[in-house]
Symmetry: C2
Subunit: 81 residues, 2 copies
């Protein structure tokens, strides 16, 4: 069994209100030195078999169809040690 992680983030040119809300709350909470915060999604996908090229291709297809909205989001698939 292998774990593959899919990170989904809004594209850089898309406004990220959740990240902005966090960013604006920071000074109030006494945190400085932080320039920007962006919030996205993380999916942990447990595969039945090994994380070989075929499995990763399937996960990429799944990310494209189901996990990310590729109009406004970008995603990255990676195997987690």
């Amino acid at each position: 069994m292998a774990r593959v992680v899919v990170d989904v983030m809004l594209k850089p040119e898309i406004l990220d209100p959740q990240g902005q809300a966090v960013n604006r709350a920071l000074p109030r909470l006494g945190f400085d030195g932080i320039v920007d915060v962006r919030q996205g999604k993380r999916f942990e996908v447990e595969l039945e078999g090994p994380a070989d090229e075929a499995a990763l291709a399937r996960v990429r297809e799944m990310a494209e169809k189901l996990l990310a909205n590729t109009v406004i989001e970008e995603f990255r698939v990676r195997v987690e040690g």
Copy 2:
């Protein structure tokens, strides 16, 4: 400027309805060989300065106070290449 990533996931013993929804949609979409999917959050935090121990300690505090609900969620802070 350095980027620190905070991954926030529900604790393993906490029910994850979003992940389950994804998991149940997979066979319908023709994806098999996936045992489990869990959904969490990913925060990309851009620091003004370097990601040294002091900065990471601050981000950990920030995760604890603002980004994660530590009653039901666990988080991990790491520097991204």
